[in-house]
Subunit: 298 residues, 2 copies
């Protein structure tokens, strides 16, 4: 059986995750139906599933069972979906368009969107504790711990708080980087580590290398997001383009200029690949994902 | 050493939980400072700590180590605090007063309140996975699973969704009960079971009895809340009184009348004590808590 190329693999992975989420999320007919509708509306049917790809890519390196990766990838995508629902709310970014369709609070209402996000976070932790994700339960507890830390006040939620606080302010590049390491980087890092821990255990230096890879791709993801937001239009992005500039949010392109931001994204790609240099072919998917993150068009 | 009476014990327990939360929540000086301020503002300094008492009371029955109960009680109170923050938001109950002080979004802002709730939920799961709560890691995973289920769309968040949907509608007593079993009951039930699992393992029939106890006190808690809301004033309750009626939310008093609601709360108390009848003195605190829940004045 030949190894599928990256385009095929990423499409198959996205399909697997979509199927998993369809099965794992509560059905719309279960009460409270409107809440479950909102959860499914916002989690299914879209997105690049980059975080899920990272779970699967890291799991390939440690030969992790597919069933474990299915659960971990779904949990990560649930946390991502919850963060987008809350991020789009009027008191946050006040966005009306996401993945080419109305945001959750526009399609439903604000209260339902708030609770859909809250329930998705609970559900992600329920999955992470209900299914077997590691040979040793103690390892699984560690996985839940790093997953929870990635979402918290010194992770994703903290990054969003700093982001909001930065609107209309002049911030420095290190401040911008700190914000993004929390806001986007923490969950991307967790995706890589969760996928890794689903399989054979690795020595600490290898885990450190994967962590460095994850930090680089996490930051690259954000830099490229800023570049695409600067260059793009709503039709390609599936969300409101130029929004950050209009809200005078600090971005890599506004702080560095477009050309330097592009150079920076290439440097981060090179660094991420360098971090994987000792791994051999087991890390091929992770290398391809890094390349995809930096060279994607949306 | 004599056993302290219930008033002393409950005061000591509340103090222990307050100290634990003070230590376990991120310090205000840690970035993002405003988010951590909001988290501490909304979690510390108040509340009856009924859920924490249930954790400790159930732990007394299974001779659970104090350190485990400290963590489990703190995690439960964090989830409770997050639910109150989100429940008070303008898109939900739009309340300005909580525990006698301005609600989180009034004291800070809506976005900060939203993120403070989100981060508190993450932090609760971080605690539950970081500290040792059971002899066997596999038992601890089960604890996290039941804790997550209690907060999710078929637990607390689901109950809130049904509650919102019921505003201004005529609903039946069974529908009201279903709503409260999710909204308040699920986390109260989780508090009892988490406290129990922190100690010696019990046979399934005993766990079922504790579950029945928890369901009765959970429902009693809500019935008494409705009675107090009907009778009380803001000074005693520390929150806006008569609010449910003003929002034409269905309550036990509006559906049953005040006298029948009081009788119902006494029946639930009797049922909860009946469920504990085989347990002996180890369950004394749980009995006292049930009595406190039904006969409290605020």
């Amino acid at each position: 059986m030949s190894t599928p190329d990256f385009t095929t693999w990423s499409r198959e992975t996205a399909t697997q995750v979509e199927t998993a989420l369809t099965e794992l999320l509560p059905a719309s007919r279960i009460a409270p139906a409107r809440l479950h509708d909102a959860i499914r509306y916002s989690t299914l049917g879209g997105g690049k599933r980059v975080r899920a790809m990272l779970v699967y890519g890291a799991g390939a390196l440690t030969e992790a069972p597919a069933e474990r990766l299915r659960i971990a990838a779904s949990a990560v995508e649930m946390i991502h979906a919850y963060s987008l629902i809350h991020d789009d709310l009027p008191c946050m970014d006040d966005d009306v368009l996401r993945r080419g369709k109305p945001t959750c609070h526009v399609e439903f209402d604000e209260a339902t969107a708030l609770l859909a996000g809250d329930a998705l976070q609970s559900l992600a932790f329920q999955l992470m504790s209900e299914y077997k994700l590691a040979d040793e339960p103690a390892v699984q507890l560690k996985m839940i711990q790093l997953f929870a830390a990635a979402g918290g006040s010194r992770g994703m939620a903290g990054g969003q708080a700093i982001d909001l606080d930065a609107v209309g302010k002049t911030i420095t590049l290190p401040e911008l980087e700190f914000m993004h390491i929390l806001k986007t980087g923490a969950l991307i890092r967790a995706s890589v580590l969760l996928g890794t821990h689903c399989g054979k255990s690795l020595p600490q230096p290898d885990l450190d290398r994967l962590d460095r890879y994850a930090k680089c791709v996490g930051l690259a993801f954000q830099v490229v997001d800023d570049i695409l937001d600067e260059e793009g239009d709503a039709a390609t992005l599936g969300k409101t383009a130029g929004k950050d500039k209009a809200q005078s949010k600090p971005t890599y392109t506004s702080l560095m200029g477009l050309a330097d931001a592009k150079r920076f994204s290439e440097e981060l790609l090179a660094d991420s690949l360098q971090a994987l240099s000792t791994f051999g072919p087991g890390a091929s998917r992770l290398r391809e994902i890094a390349d995809f993150i930096v060279h994607r068009q949306r």
